[in-house]
């Protein structure tokens, strides 16, 4: 008999999710600022997708039973977006929100990059880019071997896909028809030192590359909650292919404090204390403009 997941019982509306995403975006700014380091801009580009996966919820899981075998798996390959994932997991009930301000501090389980042995519900330890898709493939393969009913999600950075291992994993996933695997590229256009298109122009265009590797490819606006919900909730027939969702996002979610750095959107830089309020106000303004 299959136990059911309590997180699944009620679905939040798109409007509720927009509100939650706003609150969580604010928390990302606050906790990284409090820590004095971290990657807020890389977390903000991912936050709307994380919101939908964990808090609609699109994924099936039970925060009280993080090891529940039927849970869907989420692997954060771009591990530096840990603040975004921690905030989301706290809202999902894996741990108390009171823990969030301890980010990166002495003896906190919320380390700078995810440590799966420290936080229940984290499916991977990460921080060295390029490895998460292979982990996701392993989970998906195990699911196929054991006739598991779960789905595996992996989130990658667009700079991260320069790592060769990503394409080794891509080949394998398509070869083994892992249609229980969905990868998401947080396509914010920037990596650590520059724009992706400046560092490695031939990485573009992305969609035909993934198609050529045997994946079913879709492109979405990664900040449009309705579009995200639609994409994940009405999955297409892929004929056995794994799914790649290329999500067009904004590194730093379009906040001026990040945009003033034309080169890399202040990659890996926390907002200084005296700029925090302005950033929070701007997020609030964005939210009001969109609703």
């Amino acid at each position: 008999m299959q136990p059911s997941s309590p997180a699944q019982t009620q679905q939040r509306s798109a409007d509720e999710l927009r509100q939650i995403s706003l609150n969580m975006s604010k928390q990302i700014i606050e906790i990284t600022s409090e820590a004095g380091s971290g990657h807020p801009s890389s977390s903000l580009s991912a936050i709307d997708i994380l919101t939908c996966l964990y808090l609609r919820p699109i994924m099936r899981y039970d925060p009280d039973r993080p090891e529940w075998p039927h849970r869907d798996r989420f692997v954060l390959s771009k591990g530096h977006a840990a603040p975004g994932l921690y905030v989301t997991m706290a809202h999902a009930g894996f741990f108390s929100q009171d823990l969030l301000p301890s980010l990166r501090k002495n003896d906190s389980p919320l380390e700078g990059h995810p440590n799966m042995r420290a936080v229940p519900g984290l499916e991977s330890s990460a921080g060295s880019l390029g490895q998460g898709l292979s982990l996701g493939v392993g989970h998906a393969l195990a699911g196929k071997m054991d006739h598991g009913d779960f789905h595996v999600y992996v989130m990658l950075g667009d700079g991260e896909v320069q790592e060769g291992q990503v394409w080794e994993a891509a080949m394998f996933a398509a070869s083994h028809k892992l249609d229980n695997l969905t990868a998401i590229i947080d396509h914010n256009g920037y990596q650590q030192t520059n724009a992706v298109g400046k560092v490695m122009p031939a990485l573009y265009p992305l969609p035909p590359k993934w198609q050529a590797f045997g994946w079913h490819v879709e492109e979405i606006d990664g900040h449009d909650i309705s579009a995200i919900l639609h994409t994940f909730e009405e999955p297409p027939e892929t004929g056995g292919a794994p799914r790649m969702i290329i999500a067009h996002t904004l590194k730093g979610k379009g906040l001026s404090t990040f945009e003033e750095d034309a080169k890399s959107r202040k990659h890996g830089t926390a907002v200084k204390e005296d700029h925090v309020q302005a950033a929070l106000d701007e997020l609030q303004q964005q939210y009001q403009n969109q609703t």
Binding site: G36, G79, K105, E111, G127, S128, Q162, T193, V199
Partner: protein, 325 residues
């Protein structure tokens, strides 16, 4: 960090800054020098070179195996090449390329890994290079450098560029205390004695040299005279200096910000065993990863603080007396 301020050490630039500046300077007279980085030039400080010599700098992207492979091709062609990334990603992600494409054909390439040790603090274990020296030591023909402060890193960078053969140098993220104040010589393979003493020799590298100097002060208060030897070259190790330290002080402590497995302490112990056996204690990470946190908190929690070095010195001094009676 505050380490060493109590004994009057001043803080200088980070050793990565010193490397970046020395590299850019070298670019002005080494007109064939090519620098490759894996999308972390603002962290490794190769950005200084990149800004001045954009035609001789390449960001290979987030692709460390490819980074090392391309460097090997350039070097085989005859270019003078420096490669930089985080110590962890460079050595761990590209180890087979280092082995097969660089060490085996003995190509003359210089590798620099930044963010070594647990002193990087908040970013946590995934970004901490703690096995890099063991890996580099395991590559036949490689020299391995771990300079202690900014002034010696400047000289180490020049020495590295002058050296015939592959070199791996590790540099740190935060500001380090300055241990070389006066004029000094830096030669690859030649350890520098920074403090004399008759009872025990502390052999350290990198940030641990400053910690060793603090420990030596603490020991002096207890009547133990500790010498401090900067083993900035971990390979080829200065066997002469180690043997003479063993003969002169009869007890040795090593201190490194690295796993005990395969690091500087292991290299020193091997020399001591072979040449002149005396009690040895090794301070380093004991078969564990660290975690996120404040750098000094981590150094204390993982037993790499001055007091741990002093305690290790106490223990070898006790063992020495035990052996001699």
């Amino acid at each position: 960090m505050n380490i060493g301020t109590d004994i009057g050490l001043d803080y200088g630039p980070a050793t990565r800054d010193a490397f970046g500046e020395a590299l850019a300077e070298a670019g002005r007279h080494r007109l064939d020098l090519v620098v490759l980085d894996g999308d972390v030039a603002n962290s490794t400080r190769t950005e200084y070179f990149a800004e001045e010599f954009p035609d001789r700098f390449f960001n290979v992207g987030i692709a460390e195996s490819n980074l090392v492979g391309i460097a090997a091709g350039l070097a085989a062609f005859g270019k003078e090449v420096v490669v930089a990334s985080f110590a962890a990603f460079l050595m761990c992600n590209a180890f087979d390329q280092l082995r097969m494409s660089v060490a085996y054909p003995r190509l003359n390439i210089k590798f620099v890994g930044s963010h070594y040790g647990i002193n990087i603090g908040q970013d946590g274990p995934s970004q901490m290079g703690i096995e890099d020296m063991a890996l580099a030591r395991a590559l036949p023909g490689f020299a391995v450098l771990c300079p202690a402060d900014a002034p010696s890193t400047r000289k180490a960078t020049d020495a590295m560029l002058d050296h015939e053969g592959p070199v791996y140098m590790r540099v740190g993220r935060p500001k380090f205390p300055i241990v070389y104040r006066d004029d000094f010589e830096y030669r690859i393979g030649k350890a520098n004695l920074l403090r004399s003493g008759d009872d025990v020799t502390i052999i350290a590298c990198g940030l641990m040299v400053a910690c060793a100097l603090v420990a030596a002060h603490q020991l002096a208060e207890e009547g133990i005279k500790a010498a401090v030897l900067d083993m900035h070259t971990v390979k080829p190790i200065d066997s002469e200096a180690i043997e003479s330290a063993a003969r002169h002080t009869g007890a040795i402590v090593t201190a490194e910000e690295h796993l005990l497995a395969g690091g500087m302490g292991a290299a020193v112990a091997q020399v001591v065993c072979r040449r002149y056996p005396v009690p040895v204690a090794c301070v380093g990470l004991d078969d564990t990863y660290a975690e996120s946190g404040d750098p000094e908190h981590l150094l204390t929690k993982y037993h790499l603080a001055p007091q741990d070095i002093a305690a290790a010195a106490q223990s070898v001094v006790n063992r020495k007396q035990h052996v001699s009676t």
